[in-house]
Chain length 205, copies 2
């Protein structure tokens, strides 16, 4: 039986740049873990592709998945559903592959409750002012939505305490490099490698 893979969760406030960092991460040819594509009912943004950035589905389709127990986590966020289909994640982990999720903070808490052995990374903006500038600069949301998001993000930044690591999204390269460091380091955790050592040493001791 293959050793079970490691679950890596990247989360953080809306607008912090999770999607951009995740994209840059998976453009890096040295990255050797698999991206679990999220499912959402929100509209695609410019350049986003179905089955690449998200599985874009209708509200009805998403609610069917929930009913059928086919979601690892999901959350409703500014009137849209976001979530992680369960099957892909389980198949990959069972085959011994590490799996990377990029999800909303509510979803991350659900995953943490179910998979305490996962690696939970919080992507954080340098500060709230910077986050506001980014949301305004993106130009895809009206001021009410931006204000709602800022308010929510203020609370969310304090949710950092529910994560293992905090990565500041100051530059995309820094964030990507730090996430790679975290994954490399987590693979050396005694709790993850101990079973292998005991097996391999058994004959000699």
């Amino acid at each position: 039986m293959a050793k079970r893979g490691m679950l890596i969760v990247l989360s953080g406030p809306s607008g912090v740049g999770k999607g951009t960092v995740r994209k840059a991460l998976f453009e890096d040819p040295t990255v050797d873990f698999n991206y679990s594509i999220s499912m959402t009912t929100r509209q695609p943004r410019d350049g986003e592709k179905n089955g690449v950035d998200y599985f874009f589905v209708t509200k009805e389709e998403f609610e069917d998945h929930i009913k059928n127990g086919e979601m690892l986590e999901y959350a409703k966020y500014v009137d849209n559903y976001y979530g992680t289909p369960l099957k892909y994640v389980n198949d990959q982990l069972n085959a011994g592959h590490d799996v990377f999720l990029e999800i909303e903070v509510n979803g991350a808490l659900q995953v943490r409750a179910n998979c305490p052995d996962g690696v939970f990374i919080f992507l954080t903006p340098p500060d709230i002012k910077e986050l506001r500038n980014r949301l305004v600069g993106r130009g895809t949301d009206n001021i009410d939505i931006i204000n709602k998001r800022i308010q929510k993000a203020s609370k969310e930044i304090r949710m950092m305490q529910n994560y293992d690591y905090a990565v500041v999204n100051d530059t995309i390269n820094n964030a990507v490099s730090q996430i790679k460091d975290i994954v490399k380091s987590e693979r050396l955790k005694v709790k993850r490698v101990m079973p292998d050592y005991l097996t391999s040493l058994g004959d000699d001791i």
Copy 2:
């Protein structure tokens, strides 16, 4: 007040190559933490220098340090004392510098009890046969001492469970690179950075 530094502890069975890995690590110009030189009563090996590799002292001097409470940890190992003078470590940590110890497994357990927030790295040989080959190859110890060490190491490898990370000393470069990854990653731990974020965000929320 400067943020307190992080304590990094490298330990592992005698003969696994802790000293060689530590030396290679501190020859790396990107390493930005400080080495706390250990104190020992054992004889210097070829090429080892007092005040660089160890503080080489007499048994009486070492026991005076113990009596005066001037040791962070110490252990008697194959009839010699090994230990860490307390003052240097405290001064560095208080000044906000990260400090690296390379110590024996008994000492590491003492440090873990006193500094649970430290980062504990276990350097392990690929297997026990490989360890025996290394001790024999080193040619500095007689067969009785080697057998004593192998027996001790078999127990010590199981002590891996008292550490946070396991690094295999398959090649020195790999081991050095993995220790650097661990340190970079540990600096991103929420428990270490959270206080800073709360302070910096306080005005904006």
